[in-house]
């Protein structure tokens, strides 16, 4: 349906306007997305669970309030009625939360994550839960226990990870908005390879309560969208202090939407991180990166170069801190209180053996690898050399950022070294897989915010390239300011959003495997 086709291609901001003006109803919008999911998710597999009934009920409620007018209608949140998808790492009452793992297959949480409570308070219909690498461990969504998600730009390719489902859902117009989580780049890298926008807030900027913990000192929940303004709007809904999260920032959130609407970057200094481009980066990625620099320069920004020499240790430190914390965070999955319980086939039936059998059956290989690695890094005799040293590297990385932000207001780099690789290509080479996060990891280590927006398509393969912006801690607003300007400059060049160039998913000539572009 063309009408539906138009509806689903609107940005969240545009939808919000039309809903407020009562040109369209929330039920129409929600139904349009549900129809789209039905039409294309068989190929994309972004969703693990579709929440049609509840979503439509919430939409209907919004419509009723708007129709009735008066104070209640005035008080509706600007995004009321705008649907959203939620990464299946975030707990939701009424829908399963699996973390992409067999160990939580069918598990229903008895409580809502704080961010979900905020979505509900804003009356945003939740379309469903999106696919991810199991327990957010991965860069391709191939480690999901429920099968991979396919990149809407090329269904034979990965959509990035761990939040490939949320990014693909938004890129495939199955949702205007989504929530993701980012521990080492799991929002930003999928954003880059799917041509969407993804933001990792300052650590503590968004409550982690209800996000199944992977690496507690690195995890953040953040927005996934098709435009920078949409992410700002969503970030505004979910962000801010939460007394249930001791690490959440006490400061009130800045006006991120206003920042996104600033419209200029005049006088701003934008710093290129020497260590995060050039060698090791795909030529097409580098080209698009350089173009963005030119555009920003043309808009009145000053481009400077900064060096962050300790970033070379970031990947190593990350792959010590993250598995260490994760090994502890995942200990709770033992078959006692919830989730899968597997009994050993032979031998005595003791709880120790039941735990061992449950975790053996319930966890995938990547999860097991990281748990063992983390257990090793924390174990007696190794702590100082591994976990302890990695925490020191974190200090060095923060110092590098501090020094860089003396010279620049915002830092810039390609989000990922390559465009989307083929499904299966890096599965047998964990190290190669880990390298996808080399540009995104430093921000998690330091706790600073980062945004990825589409920078164009790479010449060699026609696949999306992401541009990453980084700001000092608590200065998320700068990302939205610069990001929105760059986005408008790029879209002016392209004649419209990058996603307009994505292949149609409902074209009968396209099948789920094969067919090149």
């Amino acid at each position: 349906m063309t009408e539906n086709n138009e509806l689903i291609r609107l940005s969240a901001a545009a939808l919000a306007e039309k809903l407020a003006a009562r040109e369209i109803t929330a039920v129409e919008v929600t139904q349009a997305y549900l129809d789209r999911i039905a039409a294309v998710d068989g190929k994309v597999h972004a969703f693990l669970h579709v929440n049609a009934d509840e979503a439509l009920a919430v939409a209907a409620e919004v419509d009723a309030i708007r129709a009735a007018g008066g104070a209640a209608a005035e008080e509706l949140h600007v995004l009321a009625g705008v649907p959203i998808a939620v990464k299946d790492l975030i707990v939701t009452i009424g829908q399963p939360t699996t973390a992409g793992s067999k160990i939580l297959e069918g598990w229903h949480s008895p409580y809502d994550a704080t961010v979900v409570e905020r979505l509900r308070a804003a009356k945003m219909p939740i379309l469903g839960k999106t696919n991810l690498d199991e327990f957010a461990m991965g860069s391709s969504t191939e480690h999901s226990a429920y099968g991979p998600t396919h990149n809407p730009w090329d269904l034979d390719r990965i959509p990035g990870g761990s939040g490939g489902g949320s990014a693909a859902a938004v890129a495939a117009f199955e949702a205007p908005l989504a929530l993701g989580t980012d521990t080492g780049g799991s929002i930003r890298q999928p954003g880059a390879v799917t041509g969407t926008v993804g933001v990792k807030p300052t650590y503590g900027g968004v409550s982690r309560y209800g996000a199944i913990a992977m690496a507690s000192s690195l995890d953040q929940i953040g927005p996934v969208s098709r435009t920078v303004l949409d992410s700002a709007l969503l970030h505004q809904v979910i962000g801010g202090h939460d007394p249930r999260d001791s690490t959440s920032l006490p400061d009130p959130l800045e006006d991120l939407v206003a920042a996104a609407r600033t419209g200029n970057v005049e006088g701003m200094k934008i710093g290129i991180i020497k260590e995060l481009h050039g060698e090791g980066y795909q030529a097409g990625v580098e080209n698009r990166f350089n173009e963005s620099l030119e555009l920003l320069k043309g808009a009145g920004a000053e481009i400077v170069e900064v060096s962050c020499p300790n970033f070379k240790y970031a990947l190593g430190a990350y792959y010590l801190i993250m598995p260490s914390e994760a090994s502890s965070n995942l200990a709770k999955f033992d078959g006692v209180r919830y989730g899968l319980r597997v009994l050993p086939e032979q031998g005595p039936l003791t709880i120790e053996r039941v735990m061992g059998a449950t975790r053996a059956a319930g966890f995938g290989d990547e999860v097991k690898r990281r748990i063992i690695l983390g257990t090793y890094a924390l174990s007696a005799g190794y702590y100082d050399a591994y976990y302890g040293s990695a925490q020191k590297v974190r200090t060095l990385i923060q110092r590098d950022f501090d020094a860089a932000f003396e010279k620049a207001d915002v830092l810039i780099s390609p989000t990922a070294p390559t465009t989307a690789f083929k499904l299966g290509e890096k599965l047998n080479d964990p190290l190669a897989m880990y390298l996808n996060d080399v540009a995104t990891i430093p921000a998690n280590m330091a706790g600073v915010p980062g945004l990825s927006l589409p920078g164009g398509l790479a010449d060699e393969d026609g696949l999306p390239v992401g541009i990453q912006l980084l700001a000092p801690a608590r200065q998320d607003a700068r990302l939205y300011r610069v990001g929105a300007v760059l986005e408008s400059l790029l879209e002016a060049q392209w004649g419209g959003p990058l996603l307009d160039k994505a292949p149609s998913l409902t074209d009968s000539a396209v099948s789920s495997h094969g067919g090149s572009h």
Binding site: T97, A213, S217, T247, A331, K332, Y383
Partner: protein
Amino acid sequence: MTDATLSFEEAMDKYDPVLGFEVHVELNTKTKMFSSAPNVFGDEPNTNVNEVDLGMPGVLPVVNKTAIESSIKIGLALNCKIAEKCRFARKNYFYPDTPKNFQTSQYDEPIAYDGYLDIELSDGTVFRVEIERAHMEEDAGKLTHMGGATGRIQGADYSLVDYNRSGVPLVEIVTKPIEGAGSRAPELAKAYVAAVREIVKNLGVSDAKMERGNVRCDANVSLRPHGRERFGIRSETKNVNSLRAVEHAVRYEIQRHAAVLDSGEPVIQETRHWHEDTRTTTSGRAKSDADDYRYFPEPDLVPITASREWVEELRATLPEPPAARRKRLQADWGYSDLEFRDVVNAGVMDEIEETIAAGATATVARKWWMGEIVGRAKNADVDPGQLGVNPATIVELNKMVEDGKINNKMASEVLDGVLAGEGTPAEIVEKRGLAVVSDDGPLLEAIDAALAAQPGVADKIRGGKIQAIGAIVGAVMKATRGQADAGRVKELILERLGVEG
């Protein structure tokens, strides 16, 4: 097979004991350490919990402010330094009563450290126990083992878990190795735990009932030959649930270690379980100092900075320390040093205080607790406070005696009845038909009969030997089955004989 033991004397002859204690104090905050679920004893299983206490995916801890304040107060009362900055740490191990399969505790940054407690023993000797640290942590849930014969863990088919207790705030107090106690080690052990219990109860931060698990003691014992500096291998004894058990367990372990060492074998470093019924310990799992808990700083919690101002504010709220309180009570009650020390050593000081509050005089309270209850408690092998006598009962009994309704001997019988569960004192007196014979008539009859039966005694009394009256009183008491008031009987005898008393 029971372990061999040497006699205590022989053990002390040959070896020098070194002790160490880890006492866990359960705080009486309204909510748990890291969640807002209620901190309440009993109740239906798994109802004093929320998602945090069950360790559900996605949950996060938030520190209970009152628990911090209580911990600082405990540290101050133990003469500790309070850390200017401290953090929580994760202690990682798998066990079904631990919902996250790690315990949020403190590792190398405890909130209080380097303190001491001066312990006064029964003969007045003062012994200084050095405190290594006091740190905060959370309690685990409760496991019940089912299906086996004894309800013990070995042989159990399955276990049931109740997480109501999971997350309750604990303060763990760890001593430095206690040297030089010699043969007074068991006594010191009991006195130390009693002192800690008294302190936390006095601070109002814990209900301090050992039988409820509010104060739990793990006792570490090692022996070394006299004169050697290096410590011997230690064993840790758990499940020590009362003050008497502390004393007995330490004594037993000393005797057991001595036998092992004497046989030429090394002591096994292990955790042992105390059994009150057999007064022995049995082997638990091998305790390895290399138990790899993989401690690391708790990333979900931020550090605590205890400013010096805050600490002083809390110090100003501390109540009178127990030692000072004891001096005050002794003065108020008018007991001699010896009398008061006996009361303290018998462990009935609080009980006497309560009884006085219920209406008795200090003298009466002491008479009952020291004269009647302590002995009975010893026979029943329980602490006096656990015998089952409450202050109101004593006041009631005493009043009956003072009113002349019953005499002291009867009162003692009634007390036995109360303890046997026969009812209140009034009910028992009624049921048993106990009453002092207040009518002189039957008394005079009995007196005349006794005098007639013992004419020689009657003469002696008339002759001035008043003490001889005892034989007549005794006969009369026998005749009246003890239900006469001895004082009145004596008066009547003298009247009868025309003698001045």
